[in-house]
Amino acid sequence: MSEFDQMYREVILDHYKNPRGHGELDDADAQAEGQNPLCGDEVSIFVAFGEDGDTIDEVKFSGRGCAISQAATSMLMEMVQGRSAVEVASLPREELLDELGIPLSPVRLKCALLGLSTLKLALHKAKGTPLPEEWAGAAGDLDLK
């Protein structure tokens, strides 16, 4: 398979064209917005917790982005549904990248990880879990109300 076919392989295109968990939650328990300064893409993540206050009961995303960022965020939505917020807050990026399974240049890596870092930011704001490294030093600019 050529590099090209790999990058836009069937499963990526499927998630891009039919994103899972696309939408917004009106009364989300956790919420954050993230931007990719390289291309101006934006993503918003919405999380609702279960009765135990830790299980991710429902998670949705909205925003605009390239096929890689949309597909990666769509996969992420499936990946974290039903898992513990504390666990997801420290989810290794490799877990998502393995699921994507395509070679990524440093620029495209930022596209692929925008959803994950924004989800972690939402959990940080709601639960006080560690701030993801992508946001280190930016805390002063973030609306952490």
């Binding site: 050529s2 590099e3 090209f4 990058m7 836009y8 295109l13 891009y16 390289l38 291309c39 101006g40 893409d41 934006e42 605009r64 982005g65 390239c66 096929a67 890689i68 960022s69 949309q70 495209r108 596209c111």
Partner: protein, 414 residues
């Protein structure tokens, strides 16, 4: 500026001057359609850099020894070439900087901090590159001045009918505009804006980074007060650029960077500043890069700036015609006659990153992003666009490959 009859340039032949085109990208010849972000370098410039380091290099204005004198003569010779290129009245008005961004920051800080305050108005446009937007927004905030932008019409041209309303906001002190928009290619009516700025008692600051490589510039005809441009977009090395400013303004200004070389005398109590241009050239300058900038000016002059502009306009007309057949093509920007060789566009339903990625697989390089113009992108209602841009070495075959790649992207992703 003397107008000479232009001979048509032969891009296929000039291409042989650029070693970068000798390699293949992903097994295909390089189709480089991103010269607006930076141009490639001809052998003439690369040879000059190597030769300068090998035979003439020393720090400038420092030694009495022969080599330092040779290096100084080369450096000052480059200054004269760059000054003549924009028809500056005097070479001492031409400051070497690290690029157009630093040139604009120099004016924003060194002129702005001492001349702006509450009640004053700083005017930019919605079309500016962040480099001619963010420094002014920041210095306006620092000084309490009002910051405002001339809006655009639907073709990406400035709404000059808004000037009267802007003049009501206070004392207009700065008008800052690019001569050619890096994002849309719009050639802006800088002469008219400069006249208006002077009626208001304001200075006119021109960002010519995107204009200088493609468009004849005459600071006396524009009647501007400052003009900034970079070497790397016009066949020269990175990390060097120029600021031209009126001598009386530069002389009245405080310095920007402070340190060695920019002083007249230093004591424990006081330091006095050197003369132009050295007052604004603190520390060791990008010496070889400036010499390379001079060689790039020679190269561009040999090809002929008028011939370059004509060549790019022909490519623009050809490309716009061919792109119209691409499904989902949405173009931005003014008609070809008021536009430099830049095409900003989207393919409906496909993110620019994906378009650029698909093109890269075939060795076609274009830019995808906000082009450091987020206010403009907001106005267009998009996060990003694709941008194809041309230069003296661009050939129609590269445009054909762009069009083929766009059909492929549409088939795959739309």
């Amino acid at each position: 500026m003397a107008v000479t009859a232009q001979t048509k340039l032969d891009a296929g032949k000039l291409r042989a001057d650029f070693p970068i085109f000798e390699q293949e990208i992903r097994g295909k010849p390089l189709a480089y359609l991103d010269s607006a972000v930076s141009s490639h370098k001809p052998r003439q410039v690369l040879d000059k850099l190597r030769n300068f380091y090998e035979t003439s290099y020393a720090n400038v204005h420092r030694g009495v020894y022969t080599l330092s004198e040779v290096a100084t003569a080369e450096y000052e010779g480059a200054r004269e070439k760059v000054a003549r290129f924009v028809n500056a009245p005097e070479a001492r008005e031409l400051i070497f900087t690290h690029g157009a961004t630093e040139s604009i920051n120099l004016v924003a800080y060194a002129w702005g901090l001492d001349n702006l305050g509450p009640g004053d108005v700083v005017v930019v446009t919605e079309l500016e590159h962040h480099s001619n937007f963010v420094p002014w927004q920041y210095i306006a905030k620092r000084t309490g001045a009002t910051f405002t932008a001339i809006p655009l019409d639907e073709h990406g041209e400035l709404r000059l009918d808004w000037l009267e309303e802007i003049a009501q906001k206070g004392n207009v002190k700065v008008v800052a505009n690019n001569l050619v928009s890096n994002a849309l290619g719009t050639i802006n009516p800088v002469e008219r804006l400069a006249a208006w700025a002077h009626e208001q008692g304001a200075i006119m600051v021109v960002d010519a980074a995107q204009a200088a490589p493609h468009h004849a510039i005459d600071v006396q005809q524009l009647d501007c007060d400052f003009l900034a441009f970079s070497s790397h977009k016009m066949c020269g090395p990175t990390s060097v650029g120029a600021l031209w400013g009126r001598a009386e303004l530069l002389e009245a200004m405080a310095p920007f960077n402070l340190g060695g070389h920019m002083i007249r005398s230093v004591s424990l109590e006081e330091t006095t500043w050197g003369q132009l241009p050295y007052k604004f050239e603190a520390g060791t300058q990008p010496i070889a890069e400036a010499v390379g900038f001079g060689a790039a000016i020679d190269y561009v002059n040999d090809v002929g700036i008028g011939a370059i502009e004509e060549h790019e306009r022909e490519l623009l007309v050809y490309a716009l015609e061919r792109l119209a057949d691409v499904p989902g093509f949405v173009g931005y920007g003014p008609p070809a006659e008021r536009r430099a060789g830049i095409i900003s566009f989207n393919i409906e339903g496909i993110h620019p990153h994906d378009v650029a990625q698909v093109l890269d697989m075939d060795g076609v390089a274009i830019r995808a992003g906000h082009h450091c113009c987020q206010p403009l992108m907001a106005k267009l209602g998009v996060a990003a666009t694709n941008r194809a841009s041309f230069y003296l070495y661009t050939i129609p075959e590269e445009i054909d490959r762009l069009v083929d790649g766009l059909h492929k992207a549409h088939k795959l992703l739309a």
